[in-house]
Symmetry: C2
Subunit: 150 residues, 2 copies
DNA sequence: GTTGAAATAGACCACTA
DNA sequence: TAGTGGTCTATTTCAAC
């Protein structure tokens, strides 16, 4: 992993559909060389995927919330995490230090559906309580970090 | 926006580098038709971008934290949000309901750097206190929601 | 890593249901 | 108003160097 790799990664974080030819022009390599490097980054687990980002409200997911998951005494974290992942409303899941075992980000169409989702979360075995922070607006999200390349 | 659009969107959320021909095969349209639909979804602000996802620790960002930002009495939220966005360590920023004005996700190389970042956050005008939740592991993040398509 | 050639995909067109 | 199929150009991909 050298500066060229970091440069390529950063370009792909900004534009995941950049062609190898484009990448080659911006980093100063041939398309073939970029192709080979990207393949190694993918198979090496550095690049884990490519995803279109979508305006959530455009697909009917206008309500976002951050929910802290407080575990019950007998909770088995890995099982709880699996259960959390089974709910499609749960978009992200972080295991955290502190009173709570996890913080999850949920996205739902309405506050009614949020209420139902919180009920589902609380019914998971190993979940004692939830603490919900409603997101009023997403100022930015998943912003590419620019310190790793030009 | 019909079911075909939703299907295309979902495919692109799963694989942002899918070709128009591939998309056409999965949704049952010609590549041209998919091309046109995707163009409209992009210009209509439904698809907001394409991004490679990268294993953070592979690019030297092994420490993640969620930080609640408590505003001072005279705080102007929009200005605070702009300042938050100027820190490259801040990857996501949500304005939230409750005591805190924002929750941000920060990613840094080390806990030392986390400490410095928290100092930078606290020095922002309009920030009274921060509350930090250290992420022990990311179980999943930005997982495509599957309820909008097959 | 590079170049060059064949296969593939993208972009744009006129035509059509 | 979309969608189709054809055409041309650019890109991907694989070979040899």
């Amino acid at each position: 992993m050298d500066d060229l790799d970091r440069h390529i990664i950063n370009e792909l974080r900004l534009n995941g559909r950049a062609t190898y030819a484009e990448l080659g022009r911006t980093v100063g390599l041939s398309a073939s060389a970029v192709h080979e490097r990207v393949g190694k980054l993918e198979s090496g687990g550095v690049i884990t995927g490519y995803h279109a980002t979508v305006d959530p409200s455009s697909i009917g997911l206008g309500v976002t919330a951050l929910v802290g998951i407080q575990p019950s005494d007998n909770a088995e974290d890995n099982e709880v995490a699996i259960k959390l992942g089974e709910l499609v409303e749960v978009e992200s899941c972080w295991a955290v230090a502190g009173d709570e075992a996890f913080v999850v980000k949920v996205r739902v169409p309405t506050v009614d559906e949020l209420e139902r989702t919180l009920g589902r979360l609380r019914r998971i075995d190993g979940v004692a309580r939830t603490r919900t922070t409603v997101v009023l607006s997403t100022r930015f999200e998943g912003r590419p970090n620019t310190e790793t390349g030009e």
